[in-house]
Symmetry: C2
Subunit: 344 residues, 2 copies
Amino acid sequence: KLRFDPREHQHLRYNPLRDSWVLVSAHRMKRPWKGQVEKPPEENIPRHDPNNPLCPLSTRANGEVNPEYDSTFLFDNDFPALQPDAPDPGKSSRFYCSNKVMCFHPWSDITLPLMQPGEIRKVIDKWAELIEELGSTYPWVQIFENRGAMMGCSNPHPHCQIWASSFLPNEPALAERCQREYLRKHGEAMLLRYARMEAQAQERVVVENEHWLVVVPYWATWPFQTLLLPRRHVLRFPDLTSQERDSLASIMKRLLTKYDNLFEVSFPYSMGWHGAPTGTHLEEDMNHWQLHAHYYPPLLRSATVRKFMVGYEMLAQEQRDLTPEQVSPAAAEPLNTPILKENN
Amino acid sequence: KLRFDPREHQHLRYNPLRDSWVLVSAHRMKRPWKGQVEKPPEENIPRHDPNNPLCPLSTRANGEVNPEYDSTFLFDNDFPALQPDAPDPGKSSRFYCSNKVMCFHPWSDITLPLMQPGEIRKVIDKWAELIEELGSTYPWVQIFENRGAMMGCSNPHPHCQIWASSFLPNEPALAERCQREYLRKHGEAMLLRYARMEAQAQERVVVENEHWLVVVPYWATWPFQTLLLPRRHVLRFPDLTSQERDSLASIMKRLLTKYDNLFEVSFPYSMGWHGAPTGTHLEEDMNHWQLHAHYYPPLLRSATVRKFMVGYEMLAQEQRDLTPEQVSPAAAEPLNTPILKENN
Ligand SMILES: O=P(O)(O)O[C@H]1O[C@H](CO)[C@@H](O)[C@H](O)[C@H]1O
Ligand SMILES: O=P(O)(O)O[C@H]1O[C@H](CO)[C@@H](O)[C@H](O)[C@H]1O
């Protein structure tokens, strides 16, 4: 009788943060690919382009001129999805919000992994400040970065966005419910326990240091998806100590360098931070929460062949074509799939 | 004081089929687009390509030779995501399944909207047969079509897939829970009531006939997403009468022609059918269900500019850039957005 091999045989995995299942069909990497091939990321980005509205000294859509900034630079989104002053639609569909853009660096031809740890630390401090500030009134402050044209980013200048809202969006609401339920049942914060288990098993760890752990989570849906977790119980981003922030700058640089090395290309992804809700929730017991960041990269086989989350995924259930263990560096190189490699 | 205008002002909409919210930021269509531009769909597909494994008389990956079929043609997927004979991983991650591909027509250069109603009817009858047959043992039979390279389709020959599984996948499980709850609370099947409301309001109707209604649902997340509903209470696909099937062939042809006319391009989408679960559920009371099909097209502004569901959408909440009413043909032409036009 054939023995079960997760790299060869289909199975289901449970995602405890979303209370949903992932279909793992590892053997699917064997099928030939004759479908869409993407353009590789642009390589010759000028360091300074006076027509790029995110560069120092450029004029933006609203007529404002950017300062000659030399570190991070923050401003209100000129085409916000969330309007702070929209009229009241009445009933449950009403909300208020804030929309900001933050440049990481004055140069357009740099990305987080190429920045100095000290420069990344400045980004981290700004993130903490923003969550502190906006979180004093808003229950949810979403920091996210879309990197690369493949992830809908329309400006190559390194930047992230901060959308704060008076409602708890779907995804954090789900994470809130799942983590709350877990603590109630098991007496421990879910992701704290999960990080400990992963650190011990070393099966899905991508990089780690004294304060942080990055894993391809057991339930990852995107081929090279990762989860970045502190080892200590931390509810919210501003709670990070100075040491933990330096350590975060270092682990982000290592993770993103691995990503870039994987297919030797500036690796596209969407990433963002989830921590305990803020606003009035600051007064509540939120010990079921553990701060974490999700990285969702679209690529599957190479710099130009992505994973399509389409028909079956949209209508039935997410499905991945290789196991999370196969993409972590500990794995032997299976199916000619490049593993996440480090080089710095 | 400014009056609320859904086409100008942000608001939230509730999706009762998924128990989640959509952020509508209609004004976002005004922002300039400097991001990724897609290749338009291939135009010169040969009618018959002996190297295409889906064509009549071609040899497939497993060595089998296709018959000289002249209508639909069904076979087991040569690179299945679901293996019928995989060993048992034990515990809750075990399942069994079936994976089929169905060609719609012997020609590679044809699509559903270009086929004759009689030919579409044959596809419909085959769908009914498959749900009947596989549904006798499997609780869920997912019929889906990925059309266009932008939707991960790697073969231009017109075809769909049928994946049957021994588990109820996430999306149908959610639809099951939401519809069951609605009937319990309101004493009527949710989508039956919804179809009646939409037919009366005529605000979001795209096409309709005696037996069917197509709307851009109030909670649509994809710009040109539609929901296809029977007017009569129908639990499952095989329950459709002969008249309803002819009528379905006609409305599918009209809907897909509108899609193709919108940007004058073979319109990409993923679509699929959801009906009451089968297998052992055939014996249960499933009156809360109403058969329906979802169409999820990726395009936003033109044949080459798509909607990116990225950072905020992946990490927080889905967000759309124009209202569902703005894309239905009843709407005046707003923001230079083409409306769904009909022409047949
Ligand atoms: O089955 P295909 O056409 O080879 O593959 C396509 O549809 C599948 C089911 O939605 C997806 O998992 C794949 O990413 C996509 O490329
Ligand atoms: O805000 P941007 O960069 O203009 O737009 C990008 O991110 C948004 C938030 O995830 C998405 O809604 C858009 O589809 C995407 O193109």
